[in-house]
């Protein structure tokens, strides 16, 4: 056991050394996710009116961002390896992804996955943000939940007016993974808005208040979710 720990220790020292030597402040890059409700910032557990009588309250908003890639005129210039980030509105720190050592700048496009790819889904247990204790892994059927949205609305004829959307699925024809693309001239920081009001406008809360397994509906809603990620501004 000692031997293994030592090897890993040496290995990580080595990696750190390389990145410290090469990285400068201009190599850094950050993405901040900012959930909004129409024109307002989204606040957890708070009612957002949608008309004179009804409102929507969001209680859980969590999703995975993975496989971040940088492009210059459609040519891949940098890929962040093994990057899996759980974004959780209830954990402010998680909303910002800090990346180091972006190679071969400049870039004019970023792509990333909303969710977890199928290979990772069939490769057993992982730690950190992918640890099954994070509540983003189904137990009765293998697979990550890519996007989890739970809340309440008077429009839902359910117990406590709850709605729950757990979107995932890694096998065709219910592969729910989405690719997000942002056209962005080289920057050190970007903010990406996710508009929950725009997403939920596409859902009939009165009849379709729950998705909890891989299905056609899950894939369709995942596509709608992906369409509502938008760059706010750049620095």
């Amino acid at each position: 056991m000692c031997i293994i720990s030592f090897t890993i220790f040496f290995y990580s020292c080595k990696t750190n050394e390389v990145s410290t030597l090469n990285s400068t402040s201009t190599d850094k890059f950050s993405i901040t996710f900012q959930p909004v409700f129409g024109a307002e910032n989204l606040i957890l557990n708070q009612k957002h009116p949608i008309n004179e009588t009804d409102s929507i309250e969001i209680n859980v908003l969590r999703f995975y961002i993975s496989n971040i890639e940088f492009y210059n005129h459609d040519k891949l210039i940098h890929k962040v390896l093994s990057s899996y980030h759980l974004i959780d509105l209830d954990d402010k720190k998680s909303l910002k992804i800090d990346l180091e050592s972006i190679q071969n700048r400049p870039f004019n496009k970023i792509k990333c996955h909303l969710g977890i790819d199928s290979t990772t889904n069939v490769s057993g247990a992982f730690g950190h943000d992918l640890d099954p204790t994070k509540g983003m892994y189904w137990t009765w059927q293998s697979g990550y939940i890519n996007f989890k949205l739970e809340g309440k609305s008077e429009l839902c004829p359910t117990r406590n007016n709850q709605f729950k959307y757990h979107l995932g699925g890694y096998q065709s024809p219910f592969y729910a993974l989405q690719t997000l693309e942002f056209d962005i001239n080289d920057a050190s920081e970007i903010i990406i808005d996710i508009d929950l009001q725009a997403i939920l406008k596409n859902v009939d809360l009165a009849s379709k208040h729950s998705i909890m397994s891989p299905s056609d509906r899950a894939v369709k809603l995942a596509e709608i979710v992906a369409e509502n990620f938008e760059i706010e501004n750049t620095n």
Binding site: I8, N121, G124, T139, W140, S142
Partner: protein, 339 residues
């Protein structure tokens, strides 16, 4: 330098692995395991930790149900004498727990293939309200608070901060060591023993009638098949179709291994048959020809009563007493005594 370190670490890991006196091995002429050991290299400390977790009811909500409740060693790690396995609060499940062995070669888990990797398998019974009724989050909290586990995790993984990943990987390690390849059948194949005349005839009948699905040496082809069981309308279990949502998968269930069949009764996904005799009568007399019936069962299987006796004699040669009574798999009293 990086390459050299990598090479050295592989070399050391291999040396470490081979010096282990662990019960996992690849029997001669068996194919390469499906499990990727490079992502979870075996070590005695991890196997021991996994064995303790397997036997510890701490995995259940009220600390009453352990893995071994439904997977006891003397029954080839299944739940003897219960058609449907039961769990927490005496709740009864909807299926018969499968026997556990040779899992390193198994590509997909559960009767309906709902679980895609051995590491993730334990999450299902831990979380099921009728089995352990717990969550992996809470299991990790309980383990962290215990007097023995932080040290055991440190010894095994070099980290006393317990995670879901390490908990599941440790359980996998113990399960991977459950290799059954020392039955009379195996000894005959290795030319260390001889079948009786009856067993030999049974083997011939087996190869003619059963071996397409129950392929040697694992005695399963790891496929999902409809073996012509009429649907039990009190359960309405459509098996594989529940997962794939495809009508062509209706009433298909995973082909189970026949190894240690003498000890793994009752049989079928819902444990409807108690005796091997009933199973053979099903295949010869009672197959229901419904639309998704296995292509391998379209032609009738015809066996005389003497042939059934011979076939049964062969099936009993699949019992592996060295496996069923291997002390390496038994309750780890010394681990729990260190409290």
């Amino acid at each position: 330098m990086k390459k050299l370190l990598f090479f050295l670490s592989i070399l050391l890991l291999t040396a470490f692995h081979q010096s282990d006196n662990n019960p996992f091995y690849i029997p001669k002429k068996w194919k390469k395991p499906t499990y990727d050991f490079t992502k979870n290299p075996l070590s005695i400390a991890k196997i021991d930790l996994g064995k303790a977790l397997f036997y510890d009811p701490i995995l259940s909500r009220d600390n009453t149900v352990s893995c071994t409740t439904c997977h006891s060693q003397y029954n080839a790690f299944t739940h003897v004498d219960h058609s449907l396995s039961h769990g927490i609060d005496d709740k009864i499940g909807t299926r018969n727990s499968p026997a556990l062995m040779n899992l390193a070669w198994q590509p997909i888990f559960m009767w309906d293939g709902s679980i895609n990797h051995l590491d993730m398998q334990a999450l299902a019974p831990i979380s099921h309200p009728n089995e352990m009724g717990e969550t992996i989050e809470n299991v990790v909290l309980k383990l962290q608070k215990s007097s023995i586990y932080p040290t055991a995790f440190y010894t095994a993984f070099g980290d006393s901060a317990i995670t879901g990943e390490h908990t599941l990987k440790a359980i996998s390690q113990f399960l991977l060591t459950l290799v059954s390849a020392n039955s009379k059948y195996d000894k005959v194949m290795r030319k260390e023993a001889k079948f009786t005349k009856q067993e030999k005839n049974g083997y011939k009948l087996f190869k003619t009638n059963c071996s397409t699905c129950h392929q040697e040496p694992l005695f399963t082809n790891h496929q999902f098949e409809n073996n012509g069981l009429p649907i039990d309308t009190t359960l309405n279990d459509f098996g594989r179709m529940n997962i794939t949502k495809k009508p062509k998968d209706a009433q298909k269930f995973k082909v189970p291994t026949l190894r240690n069949i003498e000890f793994s009764y009752p049989y079928m996904h819902d444990g409807r048959f108690k005796k091997i005799r009933e199973v053979l009568n099903h295949y010869t007399k009672n197959i229901e020809h419904n639309p998704t019936l296995s292509e391998h069962l379209q032609q009738p299987i015809i066996l005389t009563s003497n042939e059934k006796i011979d076939l049964t004699a062969f099936l009993l040669t699949l019992s592996d007493r060295a496996f069923l009574f291997n002390p390496a798999y038994s309750y780890p009293k010394s681990f729990f005594d260190t409290k």
